[in-house]
Amino acid sequence: MDDHQNVCKESTYSELFHAHSKTIFNYIYYKFGNKEKAHDAVQEAFVKLWENCAKVTPGKAKSYLYTVANNLYLNVIKADKVRLKYADKTLKTIHETPEFIMEENEFKAKLDKALNDLPENQRSTFLLNRIDGKKYAEIAELEGVSIKAIEKRMHLALKTLREKIDGI
């Protein structure tokens, strides 16, 4: 992002919104499983950014948005159940036997439960990577932690998920 541009400029602000609003929504949803709160967090973060547009450079805007969104519910709300859908492509595969589909659904239910049992930080980091394709470095930047800390979360998340699903 070019720092000569000003966040107060309508076009820059709009670009930032269209680039980040969806992921901020997801990020908050992964943590708390609450769509309303995730919507509110997006609004709150961007309103705050607009109010402080003169102070926040475009380069800093992204981490500013995530920080505001994250702090909004920090220690305030208890996480609800995170409900995630599966992409349509698995349903389109029509070659599967009924047994396979049953097995598959059973697995999905287990995965769903295991994900919900994960700590908020691990769940949001894991899903930002798996669903939104965010690189570890990017997640580290917006969470304000080291890449290694993100790797640790990913590792623990995957390990815990497998243990829960395999029933260990």
């Binding site: 929504f25 949803y29 992409a87």
Partner: protein
């Protein structure tokens, strides 16, 4: 296996050797399944455009606070400075006295707010406050002027050599270097020279030559001679006569072997230069030589 190898594996950072070793483990199948399945997960729908519109509505309310106020503030700041400057300039200009000046060989007529008239002779200057004229009829004068004062409050003329105070009359003031003359043509004029007040009735003139005060009667034909384009003198040292000649004709005068304190009585034209030169030289029995803008007066017997 290295630290956080599951994260490295997901990110494709494991070496081939490490990958093949990992594939042999019994947990690998489960990990692979979780990794693939989790990639197919989808978050709830988020309508970017709807959210953007909602945000725009929210920001619109805060818009004036953030964007509009600051340029407006700086505009106000600039406007305030301009207003102060304009007000200051207005009052400053208002307190300035009106100033009227004549060049060499130039006369001016000034009508004052109370219809008093001033005729300003050549190379003279006067100033007065037009704004305060009704409360204070006061004039500062350098040079020579004729006054026709309308009846009213005290009218004062201040010069560096003396002060004239009247109520309503016609008088002439000549205030030149070392030469101060007041002539009253109508009514009564009060003249103060060096703190000494003198009453000057119509038809009288008072002259101060370097502090020596003499009074004399003058012919009363209603107005001073310079208003008829003439300069009249009665027993006045030649240097003052020539000084007036220079002022009226914008010419440079030089004297050779001539006493500048010779007394001159007579009149010269303020328009016709050659006639004026003769008017001055003939009664004094001296000669003159005119060269461009210079005139040399010399003794008849001198070469």
């Amino acid at each position: 296996m290295q630290e956080n190898y599951l994260a490295k594996w997901l990110n494709g950072e494991l070496s081939e050797k490490e990958v093949s070793e990992f594939k042999k483990s019994k947990e690998y199948a489960s990990y692979l399944k979780i990794a693939n399945a989790s990639q197919d997960l989808r978050a709830p729908n988020f309508d970017v455009n709807q959210s953007w519109e909602l945000l725009q509505a929210q920001n619109a309310q805060k818009h004036p606070k953030v964007i509009t106020i600051s340029p407006f503030k700086s505009f106000l700041r600039v406007a305030a400075v301009i207003a102060v400057l304009l007000t200051g300039a207005y009052f400053y200009i208002n307190t300035l006295d009106d100033n009227i000046k004549t060049q060499l060989a130039e006369n001016k007529e000034i009508i004052l707010p109370d219809n008093s008239e001033i005729l300003l002779n050549a190379e003279s200057e006067l100033s007065y406050s037009e704004k305060n004229w009704d409360s204070k009829r006061a004039i500062k004068l350098e040079g020579e002027a004729f006054f026709k004062v309308a009846k009213g409050k005290k009218f004062t003329v201040t010069t560096d050599q003396g002060t004239i105070a009247v109520l309503g009359t016609q008088f002439n003031v000549e205030n030149r270097d070392g030469f101060f003359e007041v002539t009253c043509f109508e009514g009564l004029v009060s003249v103060t020279i060096d703190g000494e007040e003198q009453k000057l009735p119509a038809g009288n003139s008072i002259i101060s030559l370097n502090g020596n005060i003499t009074k004399s009667q003058v012919e009363i034909n209603g107005q001073p001679s310079w208003l008829n384009q003439e300069s009249s003198f009665k027993s006045i040292p030649l240097k003052y006569v020539l000084a007036e000649f220079q002022r009226q004709h914008n010419i440079e005068v030089e004297l050779k072997d001539i006493d500048e304190n010779l007394l001159f009585t007579g009149t010269f034209s303020n328009i016709d230069r050659d006639l004026a030169l003769k008017s001055i030289s003939t009664p004094l029995q001296i000669k003159f030589k005119l060269e461009g803008n210079k005139v040399l007066f010399y003794e008849e017997s001198a070469p």
